[in-house]
Amino acid sequence: MNPTTNTTVRSRGPWALALERLRHDRAAITAGATLVGVLLLALLAPVIASLVGHGPGDQFLDIGLSSSGIPIGPNRTFLLGTDSLGRDVLVRIAYGTRVSLLVGVLASALAVLVGTVVGIAAGWYGGLVDRALSRLMDVVLSLPFLVFALALVAVVGPSLTISVVVIAFFTWASVGRIVRAQALSIRELEYVQAARTLGASHRRIMFVEILPNVTASVIVYTTLLIPGAITGEATLSFLGLSVVPPTPSWGNMLADAMAYYKVAWWFVFFPGAALLITTVAFNVLGDSVRDALDPRRDTASHRSGEEAA
C-alpha cells in the first residue's frame, strides 16, 4: 500500500495556527502593543523617576501646589500634574502600574491554577467528588466580595499579599465551573475512551488527554480575568484594603482624587485613564485570543470544502 500525502497545505499544529491568526488580527496587535507599553511603564518606573527627578513619595509642597494649596496642572516640571500632596502624578502612575500588574497577574494565575485542577478533577471523577467540589464552588461564588474582604483585612491588616489572596479566592470558582463543564464533555469523547482501553491511570488521562484540551479556554479566560483582577485591586485599594500609603496604586490615587475632582481634573483623569486603557486592552486581546483558539477553525483549510460538500 503506497502511503500518500494529500496535503499540499503546510502542516501546522493547533498552537501555530492560533498564533498565525493572531498575527493577522489588527485589534490583537494594537492591544498587545498597548499592553507591552503598560508593562514597560511598570518596569521603567524608577528610570522615569530619575529622568524627571521626582520620586514617587517626594512631596513638592512649594512648587507642586498652588498658593492656595491646590494641586497644579500638567506643566513642564510635572508632566501630568501633581496630587494633593504635591507629588508627581506621572511617576506615581508608573509605580502604580507595578501594583496593578503584579496583583492582576498573580491573582489570576493563582485562581486559574486552583480552578483548573479542581475543575478537571470534578469533571473527570464525577459522582461524589464532583458533587462535593461543585457545592464548594457554589458556596464560594455566593460569598459577597467586599464584605468578606473588609472582614479579612480588619483581622489581618492591609497588604499586597492580602489583595492577591482575596482576589484569587473569589475568582477560582468561576474558572473551576468552566473547566468542569469542558472536562465533562471531553470525558465522553472517543480519544478518552481509547486512553481508558489502553489502561491509562486517572492522573494520566486528566493531564495528558483532558488538560491540553481545556488549556485553550483557560488561556482565553485568563486574559479576561486579569482586567477583572486589576479592577478588583483598584477597588480594594480605593477602600484602603490593599497596599499601604504612601505606596501608590491607581485605586488609592483615585480615592485621593475624589475630593479634588472639581479643581484638579488631571488627578482623576490620568489614573482613571490608565486603568481604563489597561483593562480594555486586556479585554480586546482576550477576545482575539478566543477567536484565534477556536477549535472549529482548526481543520486544515483544504478540508473545509469537503465539509461543505
Binding site: P14, A195, S201, P295, R303
Partner: protein, 368 residues
C-alpha cells in the same frame, strides 16, 4: 464456507502464531460472555429522586468469540451492540453476568488487575475525528501504549512507532504531525496503529468504516484483514452495515433490542436467514443493482423500534413481526437451531422461517 471448513481455516491461521501466553487454542473461545445484562439508570429531574426507569441496553446475552475468527455483531440503533462491546472491553461494568477472557473471569477485576488484560484487548473506534486527541502529535498518540505499560521510553519508542505507521500504510516521517493534518482514512489508520501497538489478542472494531468514504472503506477493510492474518488477531466487529459484514466476518450475531436473535456462520445467515427480523434487515439493504433490487423480497417493517426503556414482553420483536402469534407476546424464545439447521446456526424464534418461505406473504397459520 461450511462450518468444518471454517474451523480448519481458523486453526490454520492460528497455528502460525507462537503466542505462548494465550491458553485458548485457535477455534476455542477467547472471550466468553455468560448471561450478560447491562442496564443504565435514567437520571430524572429532581434533587433527591431515585430513578426507577432503566435503559435495558443488553438483556441476557451469552456469546463466545473464538480465537482467530471475526465475529460480527449487527443490529440497528438501540440494539445494544456497542454497549455489549464496551462490556467486553470493561469500559462498562456489567449489571450481571460474567465476562471471561482467555479463561480468566474479568467481570469484577479492579483497575490494577485489568492492566495485563488491557494489553491483550484493544479497540478501534468509529469516529476518525473524535478518536484522536487533536492537541497531541500522532507519534505520541501511537506511542501511548508503550508509555502506559512502560515497555519503551522516549527515544526507544520512536522506531517502534514508525514501524507501526509503515505497517498500516502511513508515512513514518509524519510522526510529528497533528491529527488535523490527516484525512479520515488516514486517521483511522492511526487509530489502528495505536490498537495493534502491543500485539493484542483481541481487537474490538466499533463501526470502523462507517464514517469513511466508500472508496476508502475498502482500503481499511483490506488493511484489517491483512493485519489479522499477519498478527493472528481475533476481531469482534460491530456494524450496522450488513454489506460490510458479509466481507469481513466468519460468524454473525444479529441483535435486536438487547438480545441476540440469530447467530450463524456468515454465508448461512445471508442465504438461509431464519429470524423474521434478519430477513427484514437483509431485504432493506440497498443493493447497487437495479434489477436485483426489484426482484428480491421486500419486507417493510411497520413503525420504529420500541425504546429500550420499556421493551415489549416475550419476544421483543413481536409488535413488529408479521408472523407474531399469541405465544410470542408471553414467552421469550430461546436460542436454538431451527429444524434442519446445524448446531452452529441458532435462532431465537418460535416460528423460524424455512428457506422457501417468504416473510412478506406468509403468516403463522399457513405453516404446514
Amino acid at each position: 464456507m461450511l462450518a468444518h471448513e471454517l474451523e480448519r481455516e481458523i486453526v490454520h491461521r492460528g497455528e502460525r502464531l507462537t503466542a505462548a501466553h494465550v491458553s485458548a487454542r485457535p477455534g476455542e473461545p477467547l472471550v466468553s460472555l455468560e448471561r450478560v445484562v447491562k442496564e443504565f439508570p435514567v437520571k430524572s429531574a429532581g434533587l433527591f429522586s431515585r430513578s426507577r426507569e432503566k435503559v435495558h441496553a443488553v438483556s441476557d446475552v451469552s456469546l463466545e468469540v473464538r480465537r482467530g475468527e471475526t465475529l460480527a455483531l449487527v443490529g440497528e440503533t438501540g440494539c445494544g451492540k456497542s454497549t455489549l462491546a464496551r462490556c467486553v472491553m470493561r469500559l462498562h461494568d456489567v449489571t450481571s453476568g460474567k465476562v471471561v477472557f482467555d479463561g480468566t473471569d474479568i467481570t469484577a477485576a479492579s483497575h490494577a488487575e485489568l492492566q495485563p488484560f488491557r494489553r491483550r484487548m484493544q479497540m478501534v473506534f468509529q469516529d476518525p475525528y473524535g478518536s484522536l486527541n487533536p492537541r497531541r502529535r500522532v507519534g505520541s498518540i501511537i506511542g501511548d501504549p508503550f508509555d502506559i505499560h512502560r515497555l519503551a521510553t522516549g527515544a526507544e519508542r520512536t522506531p517502534r512507532v514508525q514501524e507501526l505507521m509503515a505497517l498500516v500504510g502511513l508515512n513514518p516521517e509524519h510522526y510529528n504531525r497533528f491529527p488535523g493534518d490527516f484525512s479520515g482514512g488516514q486517521r483511522q489508520r492511526i487509530g489502528i496503529a495505536r490498537a495493534i501497538a502491543l500485539h493484542p489478542d483481541l481487537i474490538v472494531c466499533d463501526e470502523p468504516v462507517s464514517a469513511l468514504d466508500v472508496s476508502i472503506r475498502a482500503q481499511i477493510l483490506n488493511l484489517l484483514a491483512d493485519l489479522q492474518r499477519e498478527l493472528g488477531l481475533t476481531y469482534l466487529f460491530i456494524s450496522h452495515d450488513l454489506s460490510v459484514i458479509r466481507h469481513v466476518s466468519n460468524r454473525v450475531a444479529v441483535m435486536y433490542l438487547g438480545r441476540v436473535v440469530e447467530l450463524a456462520p456468515v454465508d448461512d445467515l445471508y442465504e438461509h436467514a431464519r429470524h423474521p427480523y434478519t430477513r427484514a434487515l437483509l431485504s432493506a439493504i440497498p443493493v447497487p443493482d437495479p434489477d436485483r433490487a426489484a426482484a428480491r423480497e421486500h419486507v417493510v417493517l411497520s413503525g420504529d423500534p420500541p425504546s429500550p426503556l420499556d421493551p415489549p414482553s416475550g419476544c421483543r420483536f413481536h409488535p413488529r413481526c408479521p408472523r407474531a402469534a399469541a405465544r410470542c407476546a408471553s414467552e421469550a424464545p430461546r436460542l436454538a437451531p431451527a429444524p434442519g439447521d446445524a448446531a452452529e446456526h441458532i435462532t431465537a424464534c418460535h416460528f423460524p422461517l424455512a428457506d422457501h418461505e417468504l416473510l412478506a406473504t406468509t403468516t403463522v397459520g399457513q405453516r404446514a
